[in-house]
Symmetry: C2
Subunit: 244 residues, 2 copies
């Protein structure tokens, strides 16, 4: 059993909380029974399980594991009351290709919102999610938790949204941008079947150079006195409209 906080492995695991190191190593860490069960059910590669002494977990065949002391587990965990199970997962490297339904997220930094958007995109039958530059990393611990495992169900891409809009358009996708000005109420627009919806952050909205790439601007009417909708809420209403 691994008990030293100075152990090289423990140091590596802790580094996985940093985006830079996740990118370098092409790995990330998931925590808790639900997330570990979800990754084991998926096609993603589990490099190693980390199990706190005394935690009951059915060991899957062929996957290396390390038993650690409670002190070590607490040191590598990001949750306040860790469940004693974590996994090091290898990032999947998929090529992007246009699909029927795409969610694009422009510069949203709140991890709970991004995770909930990924979970909702999965639920709404979307085919992929693209996280634009300036958004929180999809493999951030809080994002992963908010996805409730959907991170393993739906392909996630990251990068400059404009570079994804071009191939989507060439494939006949209609691009909608969720904005507040010069926009159509969503109920008035009929989805074409091949659709992408862009949502932006609550304060600034979608960056203008990206809005200009969209075929249509759409908004969700505010009937009461609220100033705006939470971005995950807006994304959900629009995704279910596009799917229906």
């Amino acid at each position: 059993m691994l008990t030293s906080l100075q152990n090289a492995k423990v140091k590596e695991w802790k580094k996985l909380h940093k985006r830079k190191y996740r990118n370098q190593s092409a790995q990330f860490l998931v925590e808790g029974f639900h997330m570990v069960e979800e990754v084991l059910k998926s096609s993603w590669e589990v490099k190693e399980l980390i199990i706190r002494e005394g935690t009951e977990f059915p060991l899957p065949e062929g996957i290396p594991y390390t038993l650690v002391s409670p002190q070590v587990f607490t040191a590598i965990a990001e949750t306040e009351t860790p469940q004693g199970i974590a996994a090091v997962v290898g990032k999947e490297n998929r090529g992007f290709e246009p699909k029927a339904l795409t969610l694009m997220i422009d510069a949203v930094q709140d991890p709970g919102n991004v995770g909930t958007l990924i979970r909702t995109a999965d639920a709404a039958g979307f085919d992929q999610v693209i996280l634009g530059t300036g958004s929180v990393d999809a493999y951030n611990d809080k994002v992963l938790r908010a996805t409730q495992g959907s991170i393993f169900h739906i392909p996630i891409f990251a990068g400059d949204l404009e570079e994804y809009i071009q191939p989507l358009k060439e494939a006949g996708t209609e691009i909608w941008a969720s904005t507040l000005e010069d926009a159509h109420p969503f109920q008035q627009l009929q989805p074409t079947g091949k659709s992408a919806i862009i949502v932006g952050n609550e304060g600034q909205g979608i960056q203008q150079h990206i809005v200009r790439q969209a075929d249509k601007q759409v908004y969700i009417p505010i009937y009461g006195q609220a100033e705006s909708l939470n971005v995950a809420i807006a994304g959900a209403v629009l995704m279910y409209h596009l799917k229906s």
Copy 2:
């Protein structure tokens, strides 16, 4: 200027973080520029403003205020980086009457979700929100923050949901319960104009004795592999469907 943490006023303010004391005193505390501006714009009674030394805030006429030291402000604030402005607000005591669109929340304890549901109900043009027994208090600090001020725009009631369902039904309201079993996909149900929607917590759903009171059971189809939707997301999709 008030500098002592032992001052009786400071002790009273701190007590407002507890539900029991909010109920006894019929008061609650809101923090930050946005929330204080929202309450001042509303018809709610601001009993007192609390201003940290050095905070610039245009003082409204006729409202008492107390200047406090940074140390005192930090002691009464719930946020990590307080903005230096807070208000003691008197709870409104409205009588309930059936209205066209009602959101009912059964035993949801997550403050972010309940606050977001209130904000979204306001945005979607709902007339009132009812927080069932077992739900987090609407005047909890985190709930208030997540409402983004909508707490001052839409009437909130609390108590046993069954006691509200009866008068709503007598007024001709159709009650929908959001469930997973024996339910219609929401897209297949047409709203009647007078509608109430009940949402429950993500783990247990709506309590059975409350589901039995509903006229219709409705669900949001899951097209992908996600197990469920976040309750605030589900509420939003259903509220915008009822409004449209």
